[in-house]
């Protein structure tokens, strides 16, 4: 009827339409991935394990798939890089659980379910996400979540929570367990988004010391056993050097952008990038830092730490390129596009014809890309297969 059609064009109709449109837009704004793929390799460079959305997949260096792990009993989402040991793969999920997977066949060994406190029937801590990799020392696992760090005893058939250390903000970094008698007592170091670096007694979770980083720390500290120091980058444009035993600040270095990943320590030099696209080589001296070499590689972020292999420093950028730099003269060896922002990490595999670089992205069509170190040519790639 005419009146009906006319009514549809009233301002109220438009208001309702706009509100619904806005609601749809809001949903769209929130859409997309929550994170990039979590990637890790074993120490021999034979296996790469990729965590993304609902599955964890293991590939050999030649690109063949070993297994796919899914937890079909839950809506578990995996973005944390896994820890690959000799016989197991440990990975945390977005529901705060830790999965122990048989490295050989991808079968589940156990799942650690966090103890959930209930108040009036409502669950607390159910969304205690794990975004960083777990760390292992003997029969102990350590991992960070939304509330702090947890220690698990994995000596039995089922894991058992030993202690929890609470922080004021989430922990996205992998805990660093150090047991070096020359340096001091075994210590667990944890960097948190609450802008602190904590040194904990790994036996009971008690705090030995903590330092204010004046900025959030997303990655773990790097141990310099030679000088007895820890190096850690922050989102406050600074890289710090702290004394291992008491956390006293030894030196700090100002950067052009936020530092996300842990620096690479090789031959008493720290290599790292920042989110403004700068790459740094910062020498370590007895009293702090030496003269820095830095170059602006790109306007896009260098989120992942570089790798150094056979005298070539390789960096992955959010500008969808991977850069290889000859370390001796700092000349550009090659740069290659990979078709997606390279934010997920950079690792090395032992390929049949030499080292392969593994680059992770958050693009489902280019989730994993491997490049040859010698010329940057693509060897193989993997997309997300649901």
């Amino acid at each position: 009827m005419n009146t009906s059609r006319t009514a549809r064009l009233t301002p109220r109709f438009w208001v309702l339409t706009i509100l619904i449109l806005g609601a749809v837009l809001l949903t769209a704004c929130e859409g997309g991935n929550e994170s990039w793929a979590g990637i890790s390799t074993d120490t021999n460079g034979e296996t790469v394990v990729v965590s993304f959305e609902k599955q964890v997949v293991s590939y050999s260096a030649d690109g063949s798939r070993n297994w796919t792990y899914r937890d079909d009993d839950s809506d578990a989402k995996f973005y944390a890089p896994s820890l690959i040991t000799a016989d197991r793969v440990y990975v945390g999920d977005y529901s705060g659980r830790v999965h122990a997977i048989n490295r050989a066949d991808g079968k589940r060994i156990w799942i650690y379910e966090p103890k959930v406190s209930k108040v009036l029937g409502f669950s607390l801590g159910a969304n205690d996400r794990i975004l960083g990799p777990v760390a292992q020392s003997g029969d102990s696992l350590f991992f960070g979540n939304e509330h702090g760090v947890v220690k698990l005893d994995i000596s039995g058939e089922q894991p058992r929570e030993v202690w929890k250390f609470e922080t004021e903000h989430s922990i996205w970094a992998q805990p660093l367990y150090v047991n070096n008698p020359e340096l001091g007592e075994p210590t667990l170091f944890v960097a948190a988004l609450d802008q602190h670096l904590y040194a904990l007694n790994p036996d009971n979770g008690e705090e030995r010391w903590s330092v204010d980083l004046e900025g959030a720390a997303v990655s773990h500290p790097v141990l310099d056993a030679v000088n007895g120091r820890l190096y850690i980058g922050t989102l406050n444009y600074k890289l710090y050097a702290f004394d291992f035993n008491d956390g006293a600040k030894v030196a700090e270095f100002k950067t052009e952008g936020w530092i996300w990943d842990a620096p690479l320590l090789e031959d008493q030099t720290l290599y790292f990038g920042d989110l403004s696209g700068w790459l740094y080589a910062l020498p370590i001296t007895s009293d702090g830092f030496g003269e820095v070499w830095k170059t602006k590689l790109s306007d896009a972020a260098l989120r992942a730490a570089p790798v150094l292999i056979d005298g070539v420093l390789v960096v992955a950028s959010q500008d969808e390129k991977v850069y290889a730099i000859n370390l001796d003269d700092k000349s550009r060896k090659w740069e290659k596009g990979i078709g997606a922002p390279a934010v997920a990490g950079l690792f090395v595999l032992e390929g049949e014809d030499g080292p392969l670089l593994v680059v992770g992205t958050k693009d489902k069509e280019n989730l994993l890309v491997t490049l040859r170190l010698d010329n940057g040519e693509k060897e193989w790639g993997k997309k997300y297969e649901d």
Binding site: L16, L19, G22, L25, E214, G215, L275, A301
Partner: protein
Amino acid sequence: MLDIIINPFITLLLVLYGLLGRNVFLAIVGFTIIVRFALLPLTIKQQRSFKRMQELQPKQRMLQEKYKNDRERLTQEQMALYREHGVNPFAGCLPLLIQLPIFLSLWRAILATLASTPDQLLELQDRILIGGLDHLVPLKNTFLWMNLALPDQFYILPILVVITTYLQQKLIMPVTPTTSSSGNDAADQAARMSKQMTTFMPLLFGFFALTYSSGLSIYFITSNIVGIIQYAMMGKADVRRLIGKEAPKKEEKAVSAIVTGEVEAGDVIEAPTKTPAKPAAPVRQPRMAKEPVEAGSVVSATGRPLKPGITERKLSGSSAAASSGTTTKSAGKTSKTPPSRNRPKK
């Protein structure tokens, strides 16, 4: 595209967070209040526009009825009506259209600064427009029992979001009673739409509160409360609407009198009476009608259709027949309607 708004919002939110003792709850509340009050002129404009449109509704309905078989003429007449009253039918939507990207940006700014996912945190560096705020990132996301980067597990905030959204909708949306039993009348459509909005919007925002960060729920709740306060300050929030009643208006009564033919243009209309609303007065047929008058047409006491804008009195209210109790003078004679104690002085 929205970055031009989002980035200043993120910066402002960080400044507030730093100033308010790194309390993310206070920062979001303060931030929402500032933005809502910055948008107050738009809100007022929107409300005025809605009001004017609402005032024209009786005339619109009459035109719809009169030209129900001639859509082209109807459109022309409606446009003429709008022109005559200086009303742009889309003017009420324009402020809303302007506000929409602002509220979207507000939402995004809160999500970005809480940085509940690595993706959000990674983008944040380039969004901070003032140096020296980086040490505040990401906002400390715990407040009372909540992790503001995650949905409220107790469902307290989503429930509050639903309640406050409902209250705001209910308090500010004018009650549009249905007039037609057939259910296909334009007024019925508008009434149904109003009802749908007051049901749909709280549920929609409740769903968002259940799904997304608690920080957003705090924004919704604060925004709703500020909205209610703003409307109350403007005199627009009417508690009676919570129970589905509209406050009696003098304009309605005046229109009623005109429509029912009890008063002619130029006649003196009573000042608002303090007497409570009375049952509907019977509709009187216009006298001296020279031609058949369609039901619902605006006519004078002489039976001639009234020209638009014939009186400066506002034509609000949905149904002439629903209003009553007005004491009028008609053609120099006192009408038989109940006497009033508030007759204006001549």
